[in-house]
C-alpha cells in the first residue's frame, strides 16, 4: 500500500496567510520520487488523459499503488499545447455520452482537485457557412436534443449579438447561422495537468518525470512491467496514454494501431483589450479563435498532410488559417502574432478515440483523441480507469479497438471537421 502524502490545501485563507510570510511558505505542488520496484498499475504518459486515469483509479476504485511515467515534463505533450476548447456537441450517442460526462466533470473540477483550473463556460459557436454545414449542424442540434446535450442552431443575427467583432457577409462564405453550446468554453490547460498531478501525488501515487519507457515486458502474453531509463519497473496492469506516440509504444508491445501521427499547430497574438467573450469555430474556412485571460487571441491552425513527429508543423497552414480568420474577423488584420507551436496528434479514421483492451493481457490503451481530446480529459480518465480496474466501462464500451475489425465506426468527421 502506498502512503498518502500530507499537502496543505489551497484557499483564500492560505493566500492571505502566505502573504504575511512574503509567500516563502508554499510547498512543492507534487512529490518527485524515484520509482519503486513494482506498482499495481503503471500509466505511461503524464498528459491530461494519463493523469486523469490515475486520479480516478485512486478516487473511484481504490487503486493507489500507481506510477505515472513521463518522458519529458508533465503536461508537456498535447495537453500543454492545445487551444483548450471544451464542448460536447458531437453527433453519435457514444461520443455525446463521453464528451458530456467530461464537460460536466469540468464544471466542478477546480473544487474536486482543490486546484483552480479556470474553467470558463463562455459558450462555443460553430459557424455554418455553407448550406451543407447548415444541414449538418441542424442535424447535430436534433441529435444533441435527444442525447440531453443542450445546444441550439442560431440565426446570423444571434451570432453577431454573441460575437460583435464577426463579419457576417464574408466575400467567400457568409455566415448562415451557427451551432451554439452555451455551456461549452475553455479551461487553463497546464492547470488541468498540474491539478490532477497534485491530487495523484496526494493520494500517494508517484508521478515520475524524465522517465522514458523504452520497452514493454511480457510473459506468456501478459504484461509484467516496463523498461525505462530509470531501470525496469514491474506492474500488474499497464495503461498506455501517449497520444502521438501511441504507434511507437504499441510497436514495443507488439501490435499495430489504426492511428497516424501528424503535427497540429496553434498560434497566439499579442495581447489586446477584451473583444470577444465566446469561442468561435469556422470549419469551412478552417480556423477558430478565442481570447485568453491575458488578452491574446488564441488561434488554432491546420494539421499537416503527412505523418510526422516534428512538434512544429508546416508554415503554409498558418497562412491559410490567418487568411480565413481575417475574412471572418477583419479587426485582427493588424495584430502581430507572438508565438506558434505544434503538437503530435494521433488520428483515427473515424475521428473517434480508442479506449480499449489490447492483444497483450492487462495492457490497456487510451489514444486517438487526435485534434480534440483536451475537452475529454476528465471523462476519458473516468471511463478508462473503470476499464482498467474492472475490465469493463459503459462509457468506453463503444470505443474498443474491435470496432475497426467489425466495421462499427463512430463517425465524427462532421463534429471534428476542424482541428480543435
Amino acid at each position: 500500500m502506498s502512503e498518502t502524502r500530507l499537502m496543505k490545501r489551497y484557499s483564500a485563507f492560505a493566500v492571505a496567510k502566505e502573504a504575511l510570510k512574503y509567500h516563502m511558505g508554499w510547498e512543492r505542488a507534487w512529490a518527485s520520487p524515484e520509482p519503486k520496484k513494482k506498482y499495481d498499475a503503471i500509466i505511461i504518459g503524464a498528459g491530461g488523459h494519463g493523469l486523469a486515469t490515475a486520479y480516478y483509479l485512486g478516487k473511484n476504485h481504490g487503486i493507489r499503488n500507481v506510477a505515472i511515467l513521463e518522458k519529458g515534463w508533465l503536461g508537456g505533450g498535447n495537453t500543454g499545447r492545445n487551444t483548450t476548447i471544451i464542448r460536447s456537441n458531437y453527433l453519435q450517442d457514444a461520443s455525446a455520452a463521453m464528451y458530456e460526462k467530461s464537460r460536466s466533470l469540468y464544471e466542478t473540477l477546480s473544487q474536486d482537485l482543490n486546484y483552480n483550473i479556470m474553467f470558463s463556460p463562455r459558450g462555443v459557436i460553430m459557424l455554418a457557412q455553407t448550406q451543407h454545414e447548415v444541414r449538418g449542424y441542424e442535424r447535430t442540434a436534433h441529435a444533441n436534443a435527444l442525447q440531453g446535450v443542450k445546444t441550439e442552431f442560431i440565426s446570423p443575427s444571434r451570432v453577431k449579438e454573441l460575437c460583435p467583432i464577426i463579419n457576417l457577409e464574408g466575400p467567400r462564405y457568409p455566415v448562415l447561422g451557427g451551432l451554439w453550446q452555451a455551456r461549452g468554453g475553455t479551461a487553463r490547460h497546464d492547470a488541468v495537468a498540474w491539478g490532477y498531478a497534485r491530487a495523484c501525488s496526494a493520494m500517494g501515487m508517484d508521478v515520475i518525470q524524465k522517465c522514458e519507457v523504452s520497452g514493454i515486458r511480457t510473459e506468456g502474453g501478459k504484461v509484467t512491467g516496463v523498461s525505462t531509463n530509470k531501470g525496469d519497473i514491474a506492474c500488474d496492469k499497464l495503461g498506455i496514454v501517449v497520444a502521438g506516440h501511441s504507434g511507437h509504444l504499441a510497436d514495443m508491445a507488439g501490435f499495430r494501431l489504426p492511428i497516424e501521427s501528424v503535427a497540429l499547430q496553434a498560434l497566439v497574438s499579442e495581447p489586446i483589450k477584451p473583444c470577444m467573450d465566446v469561442v468561435v469555430m469556422a470549419n469551412t474556412v478552417h480556423g477558430y479563435m478565442s481570447q485568453s485571460d491575458k488578452g491574446e487571441m488564441v488561434i488554432g491552425g491546420g494539421a499537416d498532410g503527412y505523418n510526422n513527429y516534428t512538434q512544429r508543423g508546416s508554415f503554409h497552414h498558418i497562412e491559410e488559417t490567418v487568411r480565413a480568420l481575417i475574412e471572418t474577423f477583419p479587426m485582427i488584420s493588424r495584430l502581430k502574432m507572438l508565438r506558434q507551436w505544434g503538437g503530435i496528434v494521433d488520428m483515427t479514421g473515424d475521428r473517434s478515440p480508442i479506449l480499449s483492451k489490447t492483444p497483450v493481457e492487462n495492457v490497456f490503451i487510451n489514444c486517438g483523441w487526435g485534434t480534440g481530446g483536451f475537452k475529454a480529459i476528465p471523462g476519458s480518465g473516468w471511463g478508462f480507469a473503470e476499464l482498467m480496474a474492472k475490465g469493463y466501462s459503459p462509457l468506453t464500451a463503444e470505443f474498443g479497438l474491435e470496432r475497426f475489425y467489425e466495421g462499427r465506426f463512430i463517425d465524427e468527421s462532421v463534429a471534428a471537421g476542424v482541428a480543435h
Binding site: 494501431l257 503527412y306 505523418n307 513527429y309 508546416s314
Partner: protein, 109 residues
C-alpha cells in the same frame, strides 16, 4: 518545411506542390481474403517514428503518383522513386542504412 523531388519530371518543390497519399507498398486484400488480412490492409498502420515509406502525388505538377523514403522526425528525404514498384530500390535502401543503421520498415531493412 518538406522538400521533395518528383522522380518523373525531376522538379524539386516544397510540400504545397505535392499531396501526401499515406503508407506505401500496402498489400491489397479484397473479397475472399481472411478478416485479419482485410482488417490489416484497411486499418493497421506502421506510423513509424523514423524511417517511413510513403505515396505522394505531384498534384501541382505532372500529376503523377510516386514513392518517397522519408524520416518522420527530421523530415530528411532519402530519395523518391516511381510508383510502379513493390519495394524501394537498392540505392535508396543503402542511403537509408548509411543514415539510420539497423533500420527496418515492415519486411524491408
Amino acid at each position: 518545411m518538406l522538400i521533395l523531388e518528383c522522380p518523373y519530371c525531376g522538379v524539386k518543390g516544397e510540400e504545397t506542390e505535392f499531396t501526401g497519399g499515406g503508407e506505401a507498398h500496402l498489400k491489397r486484400f479484397g473479397p475472399g481474403a481472411s478478416d485479419d488480412d482485410f482488417h490489416g490492409y484497411l486499418f493497421k498502420r506502421e506510423n513509424p517514428k523514423g524511417v517511413h515509406l510513403e505515396r505522394w502525388r505531384h498534384t501541382n505538377g505532372c500529376g503523377k503518383w510516386f514513392h518517397a523514403a522519408r524520416n518522420t522526425v527530421t523530415l530528411e528525404v532519402y530519395g523518391t522513386y516511381p510508383a510502379q514498384t513493390t519495394e524501394p530500390p537498392k540505392d535508396i535502401k543503402d542511403k537509408i542504412s548509411a543514415r539510420v543503421p539497423g533500420w527496418s520498415w515492415r519486411e524491408f531493412s
